[in-house]
């Protein structure tokens, strides 16, 4: 089991950042790498257990299931059901915490998963930098507008 962790400071209040990211079907609106997304079976996107089925801009298809959604803790966790990444037991959590000093947001995103030992380094970079940090960077640009 390996763990990837990324964190950042977003220059906006936590409730407004949360409003942008709480939609489990909303990845195309705020991440740079998702082309389109739908929730399977026409379920609401905040129903625990719902599955988002999305296509990356590079063509890859991913299915992820919502495990936790907390408007109280600004926290969302999900698992991967299917993906081309070659990971098992993948569970990720995205969490916001208000920074009272300056009314900003501390954003954390981490994932734990299993994979072939020789792919650990590459996958850690792909997920930590290519997914989590890239999404944070995109979010920082969005809140500045």
């Amino acid at each position: 089991m390996i763990k990837v962790y990324a964190s950042s400071v977003i220059d906006a209040p936590a409730d407004s950042v949360w409003a942008r990211i709480r939609d489990f079907n909303g990845l195309p609106a705020w991440t740079p790498f998702v082309a389109e997304s739908r929730i399977e079976g026409g379920q609401p996107a905040d129903r625990i257990g719902c599955v988002r089925n999305f296509r990356l801009k590079d063509g890859g298809l991913i299915r992820e299931q919502l495990l936790t959604l907390s408007d109280y803790d600004y926290q969302c966790s999900y698992s991967i059901l299917e993906s081309p990444m070659g990971v098992d037991n993948y569970v990720a959590t995205l969490k916001l915490t208000p920074v009272t000093d300056g009314n900003r947001t501390f954003a954390e995103w981490w994932a734990e998963f299993d994979c072939a030992p020789d792919r650990e380094g590459q996958l850690s970079r792909d997920i930590g930098q290519g997914v989590f940090q890239a999404a944070f960077d995109s979010l920082k640009t969005l809140v500045r507008r």
């Binding site: 990324a6 964190s7 950042s8 400071v9 920074v99 009272t100 501390f106 954390e108």
Partner: protein, 489 residues
């Protein structure tokens, strides 16, 4: 119940912020409302359960107890035991998190407590604004005052910003006898990335220094200073060094040589912070020899109760430690020494039998002293001159550990000769064991603990001024010293 939460981003790496906040008594140094503070009963300020007893600048008096501390999660939890303020059931948690994309720190500070009815807001503000927000600003100001150097209570080292420091050292002007050692003015450059600059207070002398001086161990190109271990105080640290702060008392044992100097710049990864109960002279005498004993008894060979161990040079720096420690582990210890004086020292260190002689003839005596069995383990710092006798002295399936070569390197050791006893030959080097920092800290920690428990004792009988290093070498090579030698800059 009142809940107060405040959080802030601090423009410093988490290691630097945590080094300050993990010290439960550091708040006098950085918090603007704290006047005086002391940990009760002289307990360490990172001991869970310790109590800080402090006064605020407004005259109030508070006692707080540390309930939890985690270097893994960067969390500190504490409660108020009693206070002149009417607050009840106050429990607070400080948590730090790393901001990975900018090497800053997220600091979360939260508490719950009760206050008199009608005064809830007053106390929520007192805690949230006065203590937490005031604390954020106080720590920021503290970090600005000491950029990269948040030294805390205790002798503050002066931080030398950049620049080279003049110092003096003992260099081997060429390979040769003790006469090649010369005092020369030297410079200690400002620490670069991953480096630390240390002002030495005591320097250990080891037999390896003699090999280096003679050119038998080609670790230097003369002219260059000798020395593999020292203790001292951190002057300043370079970028990327999180575990050391200016003013820290530290010690190290590492290659390459260069410890016979007043001030030295070296890789911080090899330097460890000394516990309060280990003084500088002890550390300088102990680091190399103590960690050598540690790996010889726990790593190269796992000493087991009831084994017979032969320790050569049993009254030497490493020898005395090996005898004491092996005895404590339940071994039967046989030592070899060169004089009757040394025999007394070896017996005092726990040797069950001591063999006195200068002729490298000991195998028969070892068999006599072990009921004919021979030695299960031999710790050999002698080398070539003792090689044949070592093979004879070894028990069946014994382990010959050759960690030194005072009489020259062992050559022409045939595999066949080991096979005759199913013997194992090891040729370990301390610096291979200490190369990994996690192992180094474990080895140093176990060595200090052995000292603390009285398992090993150091009797430093030989102190010399740094400028008298040649005399120290003469006496060490002349086999007239007992136990460790140190140089004092």
């Amino acid at each position: 119940m009142i809940r107060v939460t405040r959080s802030a981003i601090i423009d410093a790496p988490i290691e630097r912020v945590w080094a300050i906040l993990r010290d439960f008594n550091s708040h006098t140094a950085w918090h603007p409302v704290v006047a005086e503070s002391a940990i009760e009963n002289d307990e360490p300020s990172d001991q869970v359960g310790c109590v800080r007893n402090f006064t605020l600048k407004d005259g109030n008096h508070i006692r707080e107890q540390l309930l939890a501390l985690s270097d893994n999660d960067y969390v500190s939890t504490y409660c108020i035991l009693d206070a002149t303020l009417p607050m009840q059931r106050y429990v607070a948690t400080v948590q730090l998190k790393r901001v990975t994309d900018s090497d800053r720190t997220f600091w979360h500070w939260q508490s719950t407590f009760d206050a008199p009815r009608g005064r809830e807001q007053e106390f929520a503000d007192l805690v949230g604004k006065g203590v937490y927000e005031g604390g954020f600003e106080g720590l920021r100001a503290f970090l600005r005052r000491r950029p990269g150097a948040p030294a805390l209570a205790g002798g503050m080292a002066r931080t030398v910003a950049g620049g080279t420091m003049a110092t003096q050292g003992i260099v081997a002007s060429r390979f040769g006898g003790p006469e090649v050692l010369e005092a020369r003015p030297l410079e200690a450059r400002a620490p670069g990335q991953g480096e630390v600059r240390v002002r030495h207070t005591a320097i250990g002398v080891n037999y390896i220094d003699v090999y280096v001086r003679k050119g038998e161990a080609r670790l230097i190109e003369p002219p260059a200073p000798l020395g593999m271990e020292a203790a001292g105080t951190v002057v300043d640290v370079g970028d990327g060094v999180a575990h050391l702060l200016p003013g820290d008392r530290v010690a190290y044992a590492c290659a390459p040589p260069g410890a016979y100097v007043g001030v030295r710049t070296l890789p911080a990864s090899q330097v460890i912070v000394l516990p309060d109960d280990v003084d500088d002279e002890t550390a300088a005498a102990l680091m190399l020899k103590g960690m050598t004993s540690e790996y010889l008894l726990h790593r190269t060979h796992q000493m087991r109760r009831g084994e017979t161990v032969l320790v050569h040079a049993a009254a030497g720096g490493v020898g005395l430690l090996l005898c004491q420690w092996a005895k404590a582990l339940g071994a039967r210890v046989i030592g070899t020494v060169s004089t009757d004086d040394k025999a007394r020292a070896a017996r005092a260190a726990g040797c069950d039998a001591v063999i006195v002689g200068r002729d490298y003839r000991f195998a028969a005596a070892v068999h006599d002293a072990s009921g004919g069995r021979g030695a299960d383990v031999i710790y050999d710092g002698l080398g070539q001159a003792a090689a044949r006798e070592n093979l004879e002295a070894l028990a069946m399936c014994g382990h010959w550990v050759c960690y030194g070569q005072a009489s020259g390197p062992v050559d022409r050791l045939s595999v066949e000769s080991l096979g005759q006893k199913s013997a194992t030959f090891s040729s370990p080097v301390l610096f291979h064991y200490t190369a990994e920092r996690a192992v180094l800290t474990e080895m140093a920690g176990r060595t200090f603990e052995a000292l603390r428990q009285g398992t090993i004792r150091l009797d430093i009988r030989h102190r010399y001024p740094l400028t008298a290093a040649a005399q120290a070498h003469r006496e060490l090579e002349g086999r007239s010293t007992i136990g460790p030698l140190i140089l004092l800059p």
